[in-house]
Each structure stands twice: as structure tokens, then as C-alpha cells.
Symmetry: C2
Subunit: 191 residues, 2 copies
């Protein structure tokens, strides 16, 4: 394979676009089966015009009860939430829902691999942050502490990933390392 | 635990209600983390009234690209599609989408546990049908054969589950047997 010499900086794309492209790449190569879940919407009223598709005429956005993305990689369950911030110094916690954090806790207990993909848009930097390390910063906020995680703290507990061409955001590399570290811990606990 | 002596026949409930109750039960006991995915909807127009929630005023239902339910049980990835039929003699294939079948094939290849939960509402009978056995009936249809699976064929390839009180549809029992049979096959292939 020839490498094309492109600048990979692509600030116009949303993190969601980048992840959808990446997931399509993984699916097409049979590397993983990971999809974004649809946005939960409560439908109140629907019209059924003759000879054309049903039209929803009244509906409301609902708060998601789980994370945005889940799926399967080498038989293992993968579950993550993707968030971007414009801040260059810290990651705000206010747009992470308590339901989502509770869901990640359940996934973690049930043996799944769960993490955040955090994007600092103004820095063009991306981090894979395992839920198990994130937890203490969430608890710090709950107990009255700061409502964000500093960039230094994010760097300290995360794996940084560099955007590329195809796949755009090769997060499975970091996930693979994460899964290996879990297995090491499990083996040690078995002893 | 005392067993209450109730009739568990409950034909008014939809299969979706029964599965949601069951999944809540599993989640509350930390037995599994399995959720129904939201229905995919394409939002075309949204109004933002002052001082109240955003109202979606035009939207359309989209064809799902994956199955309805997925999640995690003892570290393993679980993925299924739930369907009911009023027929007492066969299960029609026309309301299973090709996208969903392709998704299940990908899941199966990636080492996930994937199956249908089929309900014959007029018989009050429920079946767990592994995707690996279902595949040949789908291919029979593709190659011009019948557009349904007979009840006898469903019975032959499935595990029947009886509805109960709590959990309403204890499908993890059947999944557990299915997972064990996969592991046996893998061990044999390793030899
Ligand atoms: Mg999100
Ligand atoms: Mg369905």
C-alpha cells in the first residue's frame, strides 16, 4: 500500500462524521462491527398520507439512557461515548449525562470494554479515556469538586490518537492495548 | 424464593414490552446489560419555541441498518432481532430486512452471539433461533424458495422458552446453552 502525502487536519468534520467513517472502514475489513445508535426520539403524532411515506409531525428529543456507540471487536463487547469540546484547557463534564455514566459502570462490571473518545477541536487532539480512570473525576464533581477534567489530567489517564486518512481515527489500536491490560489484571486476580 | 401461582399467559403485551421488562430485570440484578436501540428517524425540521423544549415538526422513519437489541452478558456480545407473527403455522420472512441479516452475519463472523426471538402470538409460543441455523432458510428464500419458515422448521432449529413472571422471558438460559455450544465447536477446531 502506498501512503498518500496529505495533511490529515480536517477541522470541518464533526467527531461523529470521523467515527462513522472509521466504523465503516472497520466493518468493510471485517475488523469490528460498531455502530452509532440512533438518537432517541419520542414520536407523538404521525400522518399517513395516501401513496407516500408516513410523516412524523410532532416529536421530541429524549435524553439518551446509554452511550452513543457500541458493538463488537474480536468477540469482545465495545461501548463508548464520543464528546468534543472547544476548550483548549479542560474537558467539561456538564454534557455527559448521569444515565450514560451509570450505563458505563454497568458495562464495566459485566466485563465490557468501555471508554470515552474525547476531541479537543481547537487543538485537533483526540484521546481514548477508559471509563475506569474517568470514574474518579466524575465522583470528584459529584462530591462538589470541579465540573471539568483538566487537559493534563486527560493526558495522564488516556491514550492519544492521531487522526489519519483511512481509517480516520484508528481507535482500535488503543482499545487493543486496553483489552490486553484488562486481561493481565484478570490473570493476576486469578492467581 | 416462593413461586406465585399465576397464569403467565399475557397476550395483550407486545414482544417489545416483554423484552423491555426482561432486560430491566437482568440489568437490576447485574445479570446482563441489554437495551433496545431507538427507532432510527430522519429529522427534517425542528422548532425551538421560547422557554420550552424543541419540537420536531417534520421527520421520517428510516429502515434500520442493524438489529433491535444488543448488549453484553458476562463479557460476551449479544445481538438479536425480535419479531412476532399472527400466523399459527409459519414465520414470514418479509418483515426481516436484508440489512439486518447482513448485520447478523457480520456479528457472527466477529465472534458475537446472535439470534432471533420469534413469537407466535396466536399460539403464545416463543423461540430462540440462532442466526447460524436461520441462515439457510434466508438463502432458500433468496434462491426462489418459500418466503417463510414453517413452524416445524422453527421448532427443529430453536430453543423454545416459556413465558414467566419475573423475568417475563428468560432468554439468557437459552443464550447460555448457545454460548457453551459455540465454545465446544471452537475447542474442537483448535485441535
Ligand atoms: Mg455523544
Ligand atoms: Mg424488530
Amino acid at each position: 500500500q502506498k501512503k498518500t502525502n496529505l495533511s490529515f487536519s480536517n477541522r470541518g468534520k464533526t467527531l461523529e462524521d470521523e467515527l462513522n467513517e472509521t466504523n465503516e472502514f472497520y466493518l468493510s475489513r471485517s475488523m469490528a462491527v460498531i455502530h452509532k445508535k440512533p438518537v432517541p426520539i419520542q414520536v407523538v403524532n404521525v400522518n399517513y398520507p395516501a401513496r407516500s411515506a408516513a410523516v412524523i409531525t410532532e416529536a421530541y428529543f429524549r435524553t439518551p439512557s446509554t452511550t452513543d456507540y457500541n458493538g463488537l471487536w474480536k468477540g469482545k463487547y465495545i461501548d463508548f461515548e464520543a464528546k468534543e469540546t472547544k476548550s483548549a484547557t479542560s474537558f467539561p463534564l456538564q454534557n455527559i449525562h448521569e444515565h450514560q455514566v451509570n450505563h458505563m459502570k454497568s458495562v464495566s462490571k459485566q466485563g465490557g470494554i468501555t471508554f470515552f473518545i474525547l476531541k479537543f477541536t481547537s487543538l485537533d487532539r483526540y484521546f481514548i479515556t477508559p471509563y475506569v480512570f474517568f470514574e474518579k473525576y466524575w465522583e470528584r464533581m459529584i462530591s462538589g469538586g470541579r465540573k471539568s477534567i483538566t487537559l493534563d489530567e486527560v493526558m495522564e489517564m488516556s491514550t492519544e490518537i492521531k487522526p489519519g486518512f483511512n481509517p480516520r481515527l484508528d481507535y482500535l489500536q488503543a482499545v487493543s492495548a486496553l483489552a490486553a491490560s484488562y486481561e493481565t489484571i484478570e490473570r493476576q486476580e486469578d492467581v
